[in-house]
Amino acid sequence: MNAVGQHLRLVRLMMSEELRLNAGLIGRVQFLLFPVMILVFSLILALASKQLLVATPLDQMYVILHALLFTYGLAVGGFALMGERIANRRFGQVSLLLQTPTLLPVRFRTIFLAFYVKDIIYYILFTIAPLVAGIALSIPMTGFRVSSVLFLLLTAILSFLLGISLSFSLSSVYVRWRAGFTALLGTVGALLTASYLGKWFDITQLLPSLELQRTADLWYLLLSAALVVGLSAFAVLTLQVRFGSSSRLFDAEMLETNRSFEFARGSGTLMAKDWIDLKRSRTLGPVVAAYVGPLLFLAILFWFVEGIIQVRIPINLIFYSAMIGFFSVSIYGWLNLLDDPSFLEVLPVRVSDMVKTKVLMLSLFALALSTAFLIVLGLARSELGLLPLALLVGYSSTAFMVCGTAYLTGLRTNSYLFDPRVLAKFALMCVPPLCMLVILSFNYANNEAFFGPVIAGLCFLLVCGGYLLYRGIDRRWGRESFMF
């Protein structure tokens, strides 16, 4: 077998591994249902395209679609950056083909290239193909041209590839030259922000696949392809792997930390362990960023829309506090990536105890971060009068969303959210109260005496719902195993 044949065989083996790993996590049927769900979703959107086009111009739809796919590619690559570390923590003893260079005479570059190709094929088949297939299925009803749909498939794949190749190449820079990575990211970020705010040029023109979609100019096809190949080649050629990282030494702090968490009674010891894990695994930063980052982004975005573009949106502090609950779900996901919990299997600890510990840990974070965020934002927006109601909304929506996520996904949040049945339940649980809170917050200024008590009443219901879900955690997860 020649080198290309061997490489393709390796890609096929990695693909089988990926499919079995995911199917093993959430079940084969649920796993296969995910692309079906994307297909149905895009079919519905395509069928409603006439109505959608009335509210949103076609060009804006292209911008949203390509920006999403580019970000998706970035996220896939970003996960790969931390992938091995997280996989080791979460799956413990599960051995992946990616680790074979440590044992067999195979160059890591060869394995990495196969892994990269596998990731591209997997995500295209798993998400992009069903997305475009849904649009294709609507052709008899919508009358879209086949050539347009195929062209969309091409540009969509290019946007995804640009994201993933940029992410992988940045990963290589990060591993080799951490300070350079920070400087590069900071400079590019500052330039993009400045150009966006200063309207130097249309920032969307930076994505050649989007320009290809807009203009059908062959030049953008060549540019996109060259960028994908160039960035991928850079990532593979500059790849540096450090087997066996250096170890840091730590003084014992378990007993002392446990004393600090004694207020949590039965969960104190598990919380103390999670706190030590958070500090030592360098996950504290990402956890805070995952929570505060989107909130800051929203605050800046609305400041820009209201302050710079002068478009009045009835946003107030209550709106942000409703979002807090939604974003707190990401912290819960991060807390579940801290460490492989399988060692608890041999101790008198139940999975539900650990799930409840994560909920309590998150509550501490949410309490501190959301309170600080809302106070600062209230001061900045001169809306401190809304602070008590905003805090009530923030705490209650967080309690409900997090207890619901914990109840539905246990200790495998990121995996279970790929299960369409769980995802549908999650959406049914989160979206209605979130929409109601947003609508109520928009109307609050019109009639405070009426909408204030209505919002407070909804918060009460959310707290009750959160409490019931929290109590249900024992029933749902009490007999589950910690083992993967």
Binding site: A252, M254, D277, F343, V346, L347, V349
Partner: protein, 243 residues
């Protein structure tokens, strides 16, 4: 017969079409070291997991220290000690902190004294500040051994306890187990190192394809002119031929 610590009756565990444990009945008394011998995939670890409350049986019944592990796994786990097959202590705690964690979960009052004893006993002073993820496999195994026995439980389950350990620590831990047995402890050990089983076990069971094909004192199972390895080959090959 001494007090019965473990009793099983027709235990079965299926994984889909595979029968991992097939109608196992046995009884283990206080102070015994029971060695469960079998080839890879014979069902040793599955049986250990059922008895220690980590896995529910498909059918049959069992009691461990008078408790049904299928009904109250938490109670069983609080009474016993378990050394799992795969050494996987928490990644970011140091060895000493892991023992502290065990002490806190198991509500051991003098945990610092006990942790000190085990760290010195297993020569882990040099690595006690290293997070578990950076420890060698052998050191992790020693740590898991300490974690299984630090609360001096009346019964301990050991799954391949000597794997990854050098001969010196194998000997040290064998001696420790002898002392533990003399103090009234009971050991249920899965192993495929037959020499160790022959030397240490008061009773052995040989499991093949989920079935317990022999159980008794080593000298009762071994025929003239063969060692335990010979008896093992004879009994497991006979079972293989049946299927």
């Amino acid at each position: 017969m001494s007090e019965t610590i473990i009793e099983t009756d027709s235990l079965v565990r299926r994984f889909g079409d595979v029968i991992a444990v097939n109608g196992v009945s046995l009884s283990i008394g206080k102070g015994e070291l029971f060695g469960l011998l079998g080839a890879n995939g014979a069902g040793k670890s599955t049986l250990l997991k059922i008895l220690s409350g980590q896995l529910e049986p498909t059918s049959g019944r069992c009691t461990v220290l008078g408790v049904d592990p299928a009904k109250d796994p938490l109670k069983v786990k609080s009474l016993i000690g378990i050394l799992p097959e795969v050494e996987s202590p928490p990644s970011f705690l140091t060895g000493r902190e892991y023992l502290h964690f065990i002490g806190l979960v198991r509500k051991i009052n003098d945990i610092e004294t006990r942790a000190n004893w085990w760290i010195h006993f297993l020569d882990m002073d040099g690595v006690e500040r290293v997070p578990c993820k950076d420890l060698s496999r052998g050191t992790r195994q020693k740590l898991m051994f300490a974690a299984a026995l630090i609360h001096e439980p009346p019964l301990v389950f050991l799954d391949e306890p000597f794997s990854g350990l050098d001969p010196r620590y194998q000997k040290l831990l064998r001696e420790h187990l002898s002392g533990y047995l003399e103090r009234g402890g009971t050991v249920f050990m899965c192993t495929h190192i037959l020499e160790i089983a022959e030397k240490m076990c008061s009773q052995v069971g040989i499991i093949s394809q989920g079935r317990l094909v022999a159980i008794g004192r080593p000298e009762d199972i071994i025929r003239d002119g063969e060692g335990l390895d010979g008896a093992f080959m004879r009994l497991t090959e006979r079972e293989d031929a049946k299927t």
